[in-house]
């Protein structure tokens, strides 16, 4: 075991982690621990753009953006946070440009902007061009630009280090941050990082679904680690299903395709979104479009022999426009489906995409231990966190924004905290829990296999916790997951070695997915209403009287050692926007 000491430790080197690192490295001795090489992070997969009311191409302002974000989130958004997001968006985009990001340009040489779902002029009048973009690889360019600036600032990375535990120490009865414990992939060695401040920026948890736009490595490690240390998880029932994933594979085709004029069609060739969202049509918010697609499919208007998908039609767009604005996604269609998007519509279905919920934080990025108490020295930013700027449904282009605005804020706040505070003494045998976990997994001789449990988990999540949910499906999911967790105790791995043991780490990642899937299903079962991404067929309406509140899920361990989930609720911060019916 090795012990390291840093002022600030950042877990994750995606957009949020690197944006934080650029700030905290200037102000404090910082280490970034990441299970992937920084440029492999899934921020690089983002395509469509990053929202900011620059008003470069048409009238726009941050207040309209705030409103759209709150409405898009079906009024579960904390309005003070949304206002910060929309206001700081402008500098956040300009900062990236100054760091070198090659945005597409207008004829005047300013940053070009395009339409995206749910973003409107003057509170819903018509779509507005607010998304700043670099072709259809905006996330790639953000990730590259941030990494380049980390190189410039001399940020210290520990690549292929998996953080498996968070260390908290008690000082005068207050739980404070002491550090993290990590597993080094190359050697199997355990490292303890003592730190005054820790920032979790470890990304989403989309791999508990089968049809998903998320990378294999998005297994919610940060959320799971925090949860096991007794911290709550907020709004985990809100998961976004993106309307346009490649049929069966889930690979994303950006909403920017519809922003450029792409149209969704059913088997009769009908532009069905006109029925469901007369104003915004194909650019209504994602939850609305995903439900509309499944409604078409359920009512027999789906395409293909099994009627299980619809088409994204780009054939009316000039090939030059597709080449210039959507080169990557048209290539995905060619590579993976053998389809020519110039002439053929692309079969799509909704794909699991984004976790609105996560580790609760305030607007500084400080992690909350309950509805109000901050954990000193602990921060979270990006998809792992729930600020909550996305509420019940995130608008497209608001996450690349979120990682930049709140990554920056967390980086500054953590470094400033580290400057003013001392190290907290490490608990006795700080690595004991991780060593135990790794050894149990390596030595287990049970007959269960990771692949089978993961597959069963993903299948039950797709079948029961997806776009349409009911009491019955959610109960089925909760029971299935409980049984899978039982089987998981008997999982064994084949690779017993120390060197690059990805077999072992996949098993540990599965444990994280199981815990988080359970929290998601239990939280969803308790929310007897429909709001944003959470749609209950048995409670099809939004219920502001009983459920205009955030879910806070805690792990409890009884005296008998039995684990359970306790749900509590937290009020939504409302400033100036009163809930209205959501129409697009």
């Amino acid at each position: 075991m090795k012990i390291h000491k840093y002022d600030t430790v950042i877990v994750g080197a995606g957009g949020a982690g690197m944006r934080a690192a650029i700030e905290s490295t200037k102000r404090s001795r910082t280490a970034v621990l990441t299970k992937l090489y920084p440029t492999r992070s899934h921020t690089g997969a983002a395509q469509g753009g990053m929202a900011a009311a620059l008003a470069n191409v048409e009238e726009d302002n941050w207040e309209w953006h705030t409103f759209d974000t709150i409405k898009g989130g079906d009024y579960l958004v904390d309005q003070d946070a949304a206002e910060i997001l929309a206001k700081e968006a402008i500098d956040s985009v300009l900062d990236l440009e100054k760091m070198g990001l090659p945005f597409n340009r207008t004829p005047d040489g300013t940053i070009d902007q395009r339409r995206f779902g749910g973003h409107s002029r003057n509170h819903g009048e018509a779509p507005v061009r607010r998304s700043c973009y670099a072709s259809d690889r905006t996330g790639h360019m953000i990730l590259q630009t941030l990494y380049q600036n980390c190189v410039k600032e001399g940020v210290e990375f520990y690549n292929e280090f998996y953080v498996l535990d968070l260390l908290l120490g008690e000082v005068d009865g207050v739980r404070k941050t002491a550090g993290v414990v990590a597993y080094e992939l190359a050697t199997g060695e355990i490292h303890v990082f003592q730190a005054k401040a820790v920032i979790f920026a470890s990304g989403g948890t989309g791999k508990f679904f089968k049809v998903s736009s998320n990378a294999h490595t998005l297994t919610g490690d940060g959320q799971a680690v925090a949860y096991r240390r007794g911290l709550p998880l907020e709004d985990m029932e809100f998961f976004q299903f993106h309307p346009t994933g490649i049929w069966r594979m889930g690979i994303l085709l950006t909403e920017g395709a519809r922003g450029e004029g792409g149209i969704l069609r059913n088997k009769d060739g009908e532009r069905f979104m006109e029925k469901y969202a007369p104003v915004m049509k194909d650019l209504a918010s994602r939850d609305v479009v995903s439900r509309s697609i499944y409604t078409e499919i359920r009512e027999g208007r789906g395409c293909g022999p099994d009627g299980d998908h619809v088409f994204l039609d780009l054939t009316h767009l000039p090939p030059e426009q597709l080449d210039a604005k959507l080169p990557d996604i048209t290539e995905f269609a060619r590579t993976y489906l053998g389809i020519e998007p110039y002439t053929d519509p692309i079969p799509i279905q909704p794909t699991a995409h984004y976790a609105m919920g996560g580790i609760p934080t305030n607007v500084l990025g400080e992690v909350l231990a309950d509805n109000t108490t901050v954990v000193p020295g602990l921060y979270a930013a990006g998809e792992v966190a729930c600020v909550s700027v996305h509420g019940a449904n995130r608008l497209g282009t608001n996450s690349l924004l979120d990682i930049n605005v709140f990554g920056r804020r967390a980086g500054i706040a953590a470094a400033e905290y580290a400057a003013k505070n001392d190290f907290v003494e490490l608990p006795e045998s700080p690595a004991a829990q991780v060593v135990g976990q790794v050894e149990r997994m390596r030595d287990n001789t049970g007959t269960e296999r990771v692949t089978e449990i993961r597959k069963a988990l993903q299948e039950t999540m797709d079948a029961n916790v997806m776009v349409f949910r009911t009491e019955q499906t959610l109960k089925t999911a909760v029971e299935t997951i409980a049984a899978l967790r039982e089987r998981y105790l008997h999982v064994s791995v084949q690779d017993k070695g120390k060197r690059f043991n990805t077999d072992l780490l996949e098993a540990i990642e599965l444990g994280n997915l199981l815990d988080l899937a359970e929290v998601t299903a239990v939280s969803a079962l308790a929310r007897k209403e429909s709001r944003g991404g959470h749609y209950r067929e048995d409670y099809p309406n939004r219920d502001d009287v009983n459920f205009m509140r955030h879910t806070m899920a805690y792990r409890e361990v009884g005296e008998d050692g039995v684990e359970s989930i306790r749900l509590d609720y937290k009020p939504v911060v409302t400033t100036r926007y009163q809930p209205m019916e959501r129409k697009y």
Partner: protein
């Protein structure tokens, strides 16, 4: 050696849709694990798989169902993160962007680590020297004077000038396909030059001269023998050789 056999299968996937034609393909994988043996060796695996799936899917099938010790890197599974460059049938490709049907699955498919880099285990190589070469070309925007309050302006044409080289995902497929690099690991390699190009030809950047000096080094662009291996290998379709030529020309004319 086995040949692929075609057999009709009942629908298997969760969507329960039309029958998929599965084939049995042989994957011949170069294995190396110094914890077990100092020698590398080939190992064959037979997998029953839909030929429209990716090589990465086959590797997962092997790892998840046959041999958990098989080790490779991967993340995004659709050609964006750059984790899984490997030599497939003797050519550098991303496993997640190569469909089995496109690489003659009736014969054994060979899979081995990319060349010219130290193999650490199976298909995993040491990427540190590769990233070091990248960092050495100062891959970040260099400017002088006060920052403008708004964005810097750039015409669409100026933006287009370096568009191709912004696509790089640092997968190392190009560098590890280069015969010059195989013989001399000190050579910066195509990927580092591509990333230097991305800044040298960015109208906002003022560090072009510095970068050109770095690449004028004995291990710099002049080592390139224009074999086009890199261009063929690039999974992002970047015209790598052309970019290297442009950097050479800029060194001669000092115009960029």
């Amino acid at each position: 050696m086995s040949t692929a056999t075609l057999d009709k299968q009942e629908p298997k996937d969760a969507t329960g849709s039309a029958a998929v034609e599965l084939i049995t393909a042989t994957f011949r994988i170069r294995r190396f694990n110094p914890e077990v043996s100092a020698e590398a060796s080939w190992e064959d695996f037979q997998v029953e798989i839909d030929p429209k799936e990716r090589v990465l899917d086959a590797l997962h099938k092997i790892k998840w169902e046959l041999d958990g010790t098989l080790t490779f890197r991967r993340s995004c599974a659709h050609g964006i993160c750059g984790s899984d460059a490997m030599r497939i049938n003797g050519r550098n490709r991303l496993a997640c962007k190569t469909l089995i049907k496109d690489i003659s699955p009736e014969k054994p498919i060979t899979v081995e680590a990319i060349k010219g880099m130290t193999v650490l285990k199976d298909l995993v190589v040491d990427m540190e020297p590769f990233f070091q070469a990248y960092r050495d070309v100062m891959p970040f925007l260099i400017t002088s004077g006060n920052e403008p309050t708004r964005e810097r302006l750039q015409t669409a044409e100026d933006r287009e000038r370096f568009d191709d080289t912004t696509k790089c995902i640092l997968c190392a497929a190009c560098t590890s396909s280069c015969p010059v690099f195989w013989n001399d690991g000190q050579y910066f390699g195509p990927a580092a030059i591509v990333n230097a190009h991305r800044f040298i030809f960015d109208s906002r950047d003022e560090g072009g001269e510095q970068r050109l000096e770095i690449l004028n080094d004995k291990d710099g662009v002049w080592r390139c023998r224009t074999t086009f291996n890199c261009t063929d290998a690039c999974p992002r379709g970047i015209e790598v050789t052309k970019a290297i030529q442009e950097v050479k020309r800029a060194l001669i004319t000092r115009r960029f």
